[in-house]
């Protein structure tokens, strides 16, 4: 498949299947963009519960992996199976919060109204969602004038408005202050008891320690290590992860 063709078209109200999405099985996944192999023969299996944190140096392929898992990119080769489904079949059962939140040029409340209406959800949930993320008092303000932390909380509320079974978070707290980071983490932690499976990309080692049940460490488009969080932080088995955790540059 060509690089251009790897960018798949917008899903047209595709029928979404209802069987279980987990476990997730990824086999020999490869993605080439612009002549470079950015995901390289990647194998990974994720279990049915918890919060998986994906770590790795810049350019390791973390964000691209999320887009592949969410059905926003088509792999060059290999297989992704959410239960028995391909990613594009179950995109609507998942939500992705991007590193830089893309908010509509409307009020905070109108951003949520739009998603609730587009996805045929109960419009009456808007106020509860805003309250849940601590933005009820900003409902009528223009969304694009929110601070970075507030904007990301609105993006998170929008993601939760779609009732996702899988919640992808792509470095949602990058460049936020510590208080804003903890607020985001609190919202994510509260979503987990409702059965939301979280897959969280972060560079923040402290955050990974707080959030992770298991850690996938990516390096050069491959899984260098996949371990339970406690084991990963206590005794990383790969040299790349060990160097990364010790603050040494992984090349």
């Amino acid at each position: 498949m060509s690089d251009a063709a790897a960018m798949i078209a917008a899903p047209e109200a595709q029928a979404q299947d209802t069987g279980p999405l987990l476990p997730l099985r990824i086999g020999a996944l490869t993605l080439r963009l612009g002549g470079a192999t950015v995901i390289d023969n990647l194998d990974l299996t994720l279990g049915t519960t918890g919060c998986t944190v994906i770590m790795g140096p810049n350019g390791a392929g973390k964000s691209l992996l999320l887009k592949l898992l969410h059905g926003l990119l088509e792999p060059t080769s290999g297989r992704i199976a959410w239960g028995e489904y391909a990613p594009a079949q179950v995109t609507a059962r998942q939500a992705l919060v991007f590193q830089k939140p893309v908010l509509l040029r409307r009020s905070v409340a109108a951003n949520l109204d739009f998603v609730l209406r587009a996805r045929a959800k109960d419009a009456g949930r808007r106020d509860a969602l805003l309250d849940h993320v601590g933005l009820a008092h900003k409902a009528s303000q223009p969304a694009r004038l929110l601070s970075g932390g507030e904007a990301q909380r609105l993006a998170l509320a929008r993601a939760l408005a779609t009732d996702p079974e899988i919640l992808f978070l792509d470095e949602p707290t990058a460049s936020l202050d510590p208080v804003a980071v903890l607020k985001i983490e609190d919202i994510v932690i509260k979503a987990r008891p409702a059965g939301v499976r979280v897959i969280f990309v972060t560079h923040d080692i402290g955050q990974a320690r707080r959030m992770a049940d298991d850690v996938v460490f990516l390096n050069r488009g491959r899984v260098a290590e996949h371990s339970p969080a406690a084991a990963f932080f206590a005794h990383p088995s790969s040299t790349a992860a060990r160097d990364y955790l010790n603050g040494r540059i992984v090349v």
């Binding site: 917008a10 109200a13 509509l104 040029r105 998603v115």
Partner: protein, 235 residues
Amino acid sequence: MQSIGEALSLALSLILSGDADIVEIVLLSLHVSLSATILACLIGLPLGALVAIGRFPGRNAVLILMNALMGLPPVVVGLLVYLYLSRSGPLGFLGLLYTPTAMIIAQTILITPIVAALSRQVLEDLHAEYADQFRSLCLTRLQSMQALLWDARYSLLTVGLAGFGRAVAEVGAVIIVGGNIDHLTRVMTTAIALETSRGELALALALGIVLLVIALGVNAAVHSVRLTAARQAYV
């Protein structure tokens, strides 16, 4: 033939006295050009949105055609509409030739490509920002188009303004299909052309001044709306 000074003085007195002929001509001009602009927006904006987000075979050819049609010569549009609406033409039975409706049709054809091509560019730029989010939310193409059109509403005002500017200032199309008939199809541009050829510079100048004032006024209004929107980060 008056001197420029005399003509200007007469023109201002005609405007300030609210000359009935001038008022009638100005109102008809606004009626025709605003109607054409609204129709062109109703057709051109969805078309621009569709091409902005659509990926289909022949898209590049459509883009080239849309951009090329922005430069449609008004007299050619006028001639084509004339051929269709004239008594022997396929739509001659409608009896629309030499009516304001024929002028609206001609101006709509003239400016729809402008609205479509400019809105396509505006919406494509916005879509580049929204595309991943829209795909993540599984929006249908129609939902994406609606969201883009609403979020780009203030930028699209400028697009509409460009269409209106082209419509209200053109003379070639409306003079062919309207005929410049006094009290029926005489608009500012055709009246200016006629009065100038007759040496009646005062009326021509008066209408020219009104045309400039309208252009300035509409531009100022749109600019003011955009500034307000920009303060709310809606642009």
